[in-house]
Structures are given as C-alpha cells and as structure tokens.
Symmetry: C2
Subunit: 196 residues, 2 copies
C-alpha cells in the first residue's frame, strides 16, 4: 500500500534496526483518514471471503479493526489483555508473552462473541514476533470458528512472526512489509500478487 509506505518513510521514526515508532499517525496519535484507507485495503485483499467478524487485540489494533469492519459491513471484536484473568467458563483465553514488556499476559474473548458459525479476519497494527497474533489464532481454534487470514498494517519481515503463522497455514496480508531498516533508510518488500 503505497500511501502507507510513503507515510512511514515520511513520519515513521526508526530508532534502531528493530524499532520503528509510528506513534505520530498510527498508534498513539492516529490519522483517521489513513486508518479508513487501511481498513478498505484489508477489505479488498480479503474480498470474496464470507467474513462475519473482524478480530483484533486491545489497544492498538482497535482503530484498524473498526475501519476494516466498517468496510466489510460486519461487527468487530477486540480481545482483552489482562495481567491475570479469573478463568471462567464464559471466555476463550490464551497466555501471550510480550517481548517488549517482558511479561506474560492473558488474552481473552467472550464465548458469546465468537462461535463455530463465524468466519474471522484478524487484523493488528504490527506483525513482528507474531506472539499476539498466534494467540488470536489459538482463540479462533478454541471457538471452532473459521480463520480466513491475518491482516497486518506493518510487518517487520526480518522477525519470525510471518514464518510462525505460515507454519500454521495462515494467509497473511501485510500492507507494508519492511525487509530492513535503519535511521537513514527503510527497505520495503514489493508485493507483486496484490492489487493495492
């Protein structure tokens, strides 16, 4: 997605070869028009799939799930992240290790809002280690729902997330795939098989 790549080049802040800050337009201060375009791009890439629900994880996935759900005409669900969860019978839950915060938290979704009748698209802001996304894939499995794929706004292709998801047979669509980066330059992987 050229609009997004151009914006990352313009306003992204590469702190090191692994750390990219996009908090001026994506995940602290947010540009709502760009977010709507991101939602439309995900909807186009997964067009034709009988999606009934978009799933994301709080907090920074919410605006992208909102835009994608709006473009698809379906509801979205955001998984809750808690330090510890009182495991009750009414939630699907999975432990997820946070590499940036060096702690494990519990990700949960109410059983009421994800069922075997659902066909789900997962979206999130970043695909890096893949830990949170793999947790969401696990939750969809617990629900017996069908997963059509994962939409990531930005993929750090030099980290292991894509490989881990592909091993599980998950289709991945990332709008900006970063091959490598430095404070001087960002290299994106050019997509050829996609339309936007």
């Amino acid at each position: 997605m050229k609009l997004l790549q151009d914006r990352i080049r313009k306003d992204g802040d590469v702190l090191s070869s692994h750390v990219l800050k996009v908090d001026s337009f994506l995940n602290h201060q947010v540009d709502p028009l760009l977010t709507m375009e991101i939602g439309k791009a995900f909807a186009e890439r997964f067009a034709g799939e009988p999606i009934t629900k978009v799933l994301t994880i709080e907090a920074s996935g919410i605006q992208f799930a909102m835009a994608t759900a709006l473009a698809l005409g379906v509801p979205f669900v955001y998984a809750k992240k808690k330090k510890a969860v009182t495991l009750t019978e009414d939630v699907y839950s999975v432990p997820v290790e946070s590499f940036t915060r060096k702690e494990t938290y519990q990700v949960s979704v109410s059983k009421k809002y994800l069922t075997a009748d659902d066909t789900v698209l997962i979206v999130d802001d970043f695909l890096a280690t893949g830990a949170a996304l793999i947790g969401l894939v696990d939750i969809i499995g617990q629900a017996g729902a069908k997963l059509v794929g994962v939409g990531a706004v930005i993929e750090k292709s030099f980290q292991e997330g894509r490989g881990l998801l592909e091993q599980k047979g998950v289709r991945i669509e990332s709008l900006a795939r970063i091959e490598s980066m430095s404070p001087e330059e960002i290299h994106f992987i050019e997509e050829t098989a996609t339309t936007c």
Copy 2:
C-alpha cells in the same frame, strides 16, 4: 440519542442497579455503524468549536474517538494506561484510580501530540465515577491546551462523575444519560436542549 437508547434497552445487560454491560455492541464486540453515528452525534453537539484534536483513553474509548475524529476531520490521540510508568520528560502523566479493578494506574500522553496550540474534545465510552476523564482533563491542563468539553457515550447520572467535572467547569455531552436502572427497566434522562 434515540438510536443509542433504543439499542441499550434492546441489547444492554443490566446486572445490578450500578452495572450495565454493553459488550455485545459497544466495548468488546462493536457495531461499527452505530459507532459512526455516535461519532457524528458528538461532532454535531460540539459543532462550531475550533477542535484540533480528539482525546480518549485506551482501550474502550478508541473506536468512539476514531469515529468522532473522522466526523470532525482531525486526528485523535489515545492516552496510554500503564501499571507503572517510567516518568520521562516527554510525557504528560497522571495517576488514576480504577474503581472496578481496585488499582491505580498511570495515564500518559506524549508531549509531542498535545500542545498549547490544541483545542481538545475528550470522548469516552462511560461517564460514571469520572476518574479517567478527570485524569484526561488534568493532562490537557498540563499541556496548556484548551478543552471544549467531554463527550460520553453513556452516562450513569446516579454516580458522581458529572458533578465532579461540572465543578471544574467542564461542558459535558452524554448521548444516553441513565437516571436509574434495574434488570427490568432503564430510565433515561431526556435532553431538551440538544438536537440529536
């Protein structure tokens, strides 16, 4: 906002005289079309104000900030909630006590995204004790920004939040003001001075 009140009556779950669950359409599973209408309603109520930014707090305010910012044509910022924050010079921060979770967390906003040049509308899903909203008002004060008011999707008018904000001279617009509720019935305060 009649559309919202009707939906709360239809899909809200009153667990006690103080606890209302709206997680089937507002803050766990989310109806994006209703959310867009909520954003438009806030934009209409604060029409004419020279708003430069919408401010909310993660996680459940994000979808409403997104819809409101889109309707107003401005960016939004979501404050981060952390158990403890390494106080650096580059964030505005305030402690907020959570009554539901019985713990104090630190709410912070990067100084880059809120300045004395900003005119800010705060939005959030609930106005109840007002603790989180008062924290956001404090942060706007730290930034030297101008506050035009607070938009709450649902107000529990029987709790102290409105009174505490009004003491600070804050204009409040709530789209559904609940006077009292029980599993059998919800009483809304009817607004006369507003247009939607």
